[in-house]
């Protein structure tokens, strides 16, 4: 690697970030809000360590809570072996890191479910002009709808349909996951359809001459050809899903990073702006990590390892 490449690969991004932080640090204190001056990077980092401390403290409390229960129960048993004891669940406030985990689980659930629906549907639509004509108007109609418009409908339907005394999943989780699912469907269906419909004529002829069965045709020819487009759709979907989820959590007060941001905003303490900025950066980092994860999977599944992927 020559000097120029070295500069472009390592020094340039570093300088860019440094410049951004410098402008932020200098500019932020000049804006004074009702919650105090806008925090600079240094203050935001302090809030971050504060959140870590809070998380550890909460974990400690949880451990102690269960310890106390166990001790109490053991004592009761010792006095009267027939005594009925029970373990209560710890119900402390979810910390920042709990919320991150909730958001990731929710987005992945909605995304994976959407993939199971959208990829087969896209393959069928790509292979059959009739199916394509049948579903295309619906896709075109629903694609431009902001998934947040779905949120009230999803919430109402889930409340009405998902009734159970001992629900496996929280209603809020089902709401968020379904909203994510709805917004993941369209880009995946469309890209899969395009990928499948554009399989080279030559390969289709090979399949015809060999009289491959429908299933073998899909497995051996359609899927490998369409993999790049399927992944393009999946990556688009996951990116949108992550953005939508945060908004949905804010709007519907479903647990997750969005709720954390909203709670801090309502809280209005002098720490709030800093904490929200921590959340913004974390949201960005997770979104980036999700995309890289998809890219990794695409490289793994794609037969053409020489293809430039970015």
């Amino acid at each position: 690697m020559n000097t120029k490449q070295l500069f472009q690969t390592f020094a340039a991004p570093f300088l860019g970030i440094l410049l951004f932080l410098a402008i932020w640090q200098v500019g932020a204190p000049k804006i004074v809000t009702s919650l105090g001056a806008v925090p600079g990077p240094v203050q935001v980092f302090e809030q971050f360590t504060g959140l870590i401390d809070e998380h550890q403290a909460a974990r400690q409390k949880e451990v102690e809570f269960y310890q106390r229960q166990e001790e109490r129960n053991a004592k009761a048993k010792a006095e009267d072996p027939a005594a009925e004891t029970e373990m209560r669940k710890y119900t402390g406030k979810a910390t920042f890191f709990d919320q991150i985990w909730t958001s990731i689980v929710t987005v992945m659930t909605g995304f994976v479910l959407a993939g199971f629906i959208a990829i087969p549907l896209g393959i069928v639509a790509g292979l059959s002009q009739t199916v394509y004509s049948a579903i295309n108007p619906l896709i075109q109609l629903f694609k431009p709808v902001s998934p947040l418009a779905w949120l009230p409908i999803v919430t109402m339907i889930v409340s009405a349909v998902y009734v159970s005394d001992d629900p496996t999943f929280d209603k809020s989780f089902v709401n968020s996951a379904l909203t994510v699912l709805l917004c993941c469907l369209w880009p995946t269906i469309i890209n899969t359809t395009v990928g499948v419909a554009n399989i080279s004529k030559d390969l289709q002829n090979v399949s015809k001459v060999l009289r491959l069965s429908w299933w073998t045709h899909v497995r051996k020819i359609v899927l490998p050809s369409a993999i790049p487009m399927i992944f393009t759709g999946l990556r688009l979907s996951l990116g949108i899903a992550w953005m939508v989820l945060i908004a949905a959590e804010m709007l519907a007060q479903n647990p997750g990073l969005g709720k954390f941001v909203w709670d801090e905003f309502q809280n209005g303490s002098s720490n709030s702006l800093g904490r929200i900025m921590v959340a913004v950066i974390v949201i960005g980092l997770i979104g980036f990590a999700l995309d890289r994860g998809m890219l990794f999977l695409q490289r793994h599944f794609s037969w053409d390892k020489s293809m430039a992927l970015r």
């Binding site: 390969l203 090979v206 015809k208 001459v209 060999l210 009289r211 037969w303």
Partner: protein, 302 residues
């Protein structure tokens, strides 16, 4: 359509095909007739866009004739199938499979339940050896040269044990030296297996060298069989020795004179219709015919 007493191995009977265009149907082929015997090597030659690939596609079952039909061993052809294996011009190997796996896909499909796993493996390797590809069996198409890809394509077709082998300009996209090598391989395989072969080509030397008969097609629209030339050259044929033989020179001259004197392509009378109607033909054939023809014409003028 079954007729057990029919002596013909492959019969192309009164085949016509219309392609729909915005201006109404375009007749690409008109009443093409051809009888081919078992073990015969027949070339179809003609200018770009004359519909010679269309004839092959109809025999393959990839196109349906508008009128007439194709009968193979007493049965009418109406869909593609491995008994009429095609070697495509652009090799058409699945790029995500190795040479071995490409042939395996065909073998598994054709010999399902008839061969054991070990027999299949042996058969795949046998066919790859036949085309001299045993040294690169486990390479993917993007790791081997164009000539090698075409060899694998031929191995895949041979492995289906076809009744008729259809070659759609199999060597058209290769450089002259590689092409010569593959032509030699093809003759060698033909001598060993005695397949019935139909080959589409626009190369006069290739046609004379490989064929028992050369079918010369007139120009479209409504292209049809113009003349059929019997090539009475002894086999095995050697390209260097043959170049001197009077029969070789006679055949070569006969084809050239058909193509460039009697059926010289009238310069694009209806180019639009042609492009619309026989797109596959135009795409798969470089406009070599035109160039040669212009050269001949200018030579004549001088």
């Amino acid at each position: 359509m079954t007729n057990k007493n029919h002596p013909d191995h492959l019969l192309i009977s009164q085949v016509s095909i219309d392609f729909p265009t915005p201006k109404g149907p375009y007749r690409a082929l008109d009443k093409v007739n051809l009888r081919i015997e078992k073990g015969e090597f027949v070339s179809i030659i003609g200018h770009s866009g004359c519909g010679k690939s269309t004839v092959l596609n109809i025999v393959a079952g990839l196109y349906q004739a508008t009128e007439g039909g194709v009968i193979l061993d007493g049965r009418e052809v109406n869909e593609p199938g491995p008994e009429r294996a095609v070697v495509f011009q652009n090799h058409s190997l699945l790029p995500w499979l190795t040479a071995y796996e490409n042939v395996e896909l065909a073998v598994k499909q054709v010999f399902k339940g008839r061969k054991t796993k070990a027999e299949m493996k042996e058969w795949i390797e046998h066919n790859l050896t036949l085309v001299h590809m045993d040294h690169a069996m486990h390479k993917r198409p993007d790791e081997i040269s164009g000539g090698m890809k075409q060899r694998v394509g031929i191995a895949r077709a041979l492995a289906m044990e076809p009744q008729v082998l259809l070659l759609d300009e199999p060597f058209g996209a290769l450089d002259a030296l590689t092409r010569a090598h593959l032509q030699d391989s093809m003759m060698e395989i033909q001598a060993t297996l005695g397949n019935t072969v139909i080959m589409i080509t626009h190369d006069v030397d290739e046609a004379v060298l490989l064929s028992d008969r050369i079918v010369m097609m007139s120009n479209g629209p409504a292209a049809t069989v113009g003349e059929i030339l019997q090539v009475n050259l002894p086999r095995p044929r050697n390209r260097v020795e043959m170049a001197e033989m009077p029969e070789y020179i006679r055949c070569r001259h006969a084809v050239l004179s058909f193509l460039y004197e009697r059926h010289g392509r009238k310069e694009a009378a209806t180019p639009k219709a042609r492009v619309n109607a026989s797109k596959t033909d135009e795409e798969s054939e470089p406009a070599r015919g035109n160039v040669v023809e212009l050269k001949t014409l200018s030579a004549k003028a001088a």
